[in-house]
């Protein structure tokens, strides 16, 4: 299967970037990096960095496609020219970007409580700042955080990551060289229910192996949720502290 000289797993059981098979890349989550968006977040996973900003709920830019009883979601995805995607530079009309945008929109449509926002639009802008594998999962994670930051009602966190398979050993959170060599699956799930909202796979794989990867992916999504929750709670505590300072409520402590 693998054609390059990259050693996916060495004799010590370590991957090319010295991670163990189930180890995720260093994950950093930051909320509200964007000054004017209603909500924004940057998720950096290893060398992949994606910023999502959310505008809305606001009046739809065009009447077409609006609905009288529920809000609509629109997604734009852009890839920075310096992001390091080895392929040709991707422009706005690129089919792959349209596909990523459609996946993100369809992932979040059932998660956002759209009936609370009739006749309005929620715009999600995604910018891939640097790419080293896992653009789609990182974008989904960034979008979840940005939506939370914008205070939009969600059913649950939606977290995502990629799962690869080397011989019979599943690997989590692939980097670009691994992605090029291994069959891999992107899973997005709602950790509270453990249900899968998005699953995307593009390479040949036996059905029995697939189930194992899917289950592992769902478990790993829970880990990312915990990570996200701690960041969100920290931010919320900060907001509460500041607002209490302004209105002069005595500190509870």
């Amino acid at each position: 299967m693998s054609t390059s000289r990259l050693e996916i797993l060495n004799d010590g059981g370590l991957r090319h970037d010295a991670r163990r098979p189930y180890e995720l890349r260093s994950l950093s989550l930051s909320l509200s990096p964007h000054p004017t968006a209603d909500g924004s977040a940057t998720v950096t996973s290893g060398l992949t960095s994606v910023t999502a900003s959310v505008f809305g709920p606001r009046e739809p830019r065009s009447r077409a496609g609006t609905s009288h009883d529920r809000g609509i979601v629109s997604v734009e995805v852009g890839v920075a020219p310096w992001s390091g995607t080895r392929e040709v530079r991707r422009s706005r009309g690129d089919k792959r970007l349209t596909e990523i945008a459609a996946s993100i929109r369809q992932t979040f449509e059932p998660v956002i409580l759209l009936h609370l926002y009739p006749r309005s639009e929620i715009t999600i802008n995604i910018q891939v700042i640097s790419a080293d594998g896992g653009i789609l999962p990182t974008a989904i994670n960034a979008t979840t955080l940005a939506l939370l930051d914008a205070g939009i009602a969600l059913l649950d966190y939606t977290t995502s990551l990629s799962v690869g398979l080397h011989l019979t050993q599943p690997l989590l959170d692939l980097s670009a060289p691994e992605e090029a060599d291994l069959p891999h699956l992107v899973v997005a799930s709602c950790p509270a229910s453990g249900k899968v909202t998005l699953a995307a796979m593009e390479t040949r794989l036996h059905v029995d192996r697939f189930e194992e990867m899917l289950r592992l992916g769902v478990d790993a999504c829970r880990v990312i949720r915990d990570e996200m929750e701690s960041v969100v709670k920290k931010k919320a505590a900060e907001v509460v502290r500041r607002s209490q300072a302004v209105i002069g409520v005595p500190d509870a402590r």
Partner: protein, 281 residues
């Protein structure tokens, strides 16, 4: 873009109520496909696939071109698939709607990225001449599930196609016309086929949704599988969240469905081959 009229509430309620009882409005059970009909043209590599009232025409042609410098041994497989307004009034000529992009991307992933056709076998003279296959899909009518129909038409056309026999003497390449020597089939590694399922809130999934069912559904999942129980592409982009068990049960249904589809395809190809006996005197 002309917007489609949403189905009336009465119709929606009726369809959902019947699905709740395990019935579909065209008389199928939930996990049943519409009848597949494959027709072949006079030329080799020309195939129309009808899936109920959905129909797609696939045509394969070959020409000789120069390979890419970085891949001197590889031929090309180009997939042209533009959905014209003929299929349905929601498609606009020359403009890629989102549905259209998803269908074409899925076809590319299913057929090209899974290496269904051996591209190295298309090499004639390394670095000089290779075959370029062009698979053109014409979407004739959209009554739901264009993707499965297109994938079946495409793979049948590729299996049906024969390229002219070639003889290489030194640097000379002789292309023998079909009258002179029997043309040769393509080297095909496996036959990936798509199956699409539609989901509804609190109802079991259905196979091969019609247009109306697709519009009413809350999510869909497309699988590309082959007869060797390999999952080639899986795409569940959002929609209703599913448990792992639900996904796996659908995958298993997909495996058996694809086996049946391959059988239909083999039979159709066999029948067509029988009608093409040429006498050699």
């Amino acid at each position: 873009m002309p917007r489609e009229i949403e189905p009336p509430t009465v119709q929606r309620d009726f369809i959902l109520a019947s699905l709740g009882e395990g019935k579909r409005i065209d008389g199928r059970v939930p996990l049943e496909m519409r009848p597949i009909k494959l027709e072949f043209g006079d030329e080799l590599g020309w195939c129309t696939c009808h899936l109920g009232k959905t129909s797609v025409l696939a045509q394969v042609t070959a020409s000789i071109v120069k390979p890419r410098d970085d891949r001197p041994y590889e031929g090309f497989l180009l997939i042209n698939s533009e959905i014209s307004p003929m299929a349905s009034s929601v498609y606009e000529a020359g403009r890629n709607s989102e549905d259209e992009v998803l269908i074409t991307r899925m076809l590319e992933k299913s057929i090209r990225r899974t290496e269904a056709v051996d591209r190295e076998a298309l090499c004639i003279l390394a670095g000089e001449k290779v075959w370029q296959l062009r698979l053109t899909l014409h979407f004739l009518a959209d009554q739901g599930n264009l993707l499965d129909c297109a994938a079946l038409a495409a793979m049948t056309a590729l299996r049906h196609f024969r390229k002219p026999e070639i003889e290489v003497i030194g640097d000379e390449v002789i292309v023998h016309s079909p009258d002179e020597r029997a043309p040769v089939p393509l080297a095909i590694h496996h036959v990936p086929l798509c199956v699409t399922f539609a989901y509804f809130e609190n109802l079991p999934p259905i196979l091969d949704p019609t247009h109306l069912e697709a519009v009413l559904s809350t999510g869909s999942m497309s699988l590309t599988l082959n007869a060797q129980r390999e999952l080639c592409v899986l795409s569940k982009a959002g929609g209703t969240a599913l448990a792992v068990e639900e996904i796996m049960s659908v995958v298993n249904v997909g495996v058996s469905t694809v086996r049946e589809m391959v059988k239909v395809m083999e039979e159709a190809l066999e029948r067509d081959r029988g009608s093409r006996i040429i006498e050699v005197r």
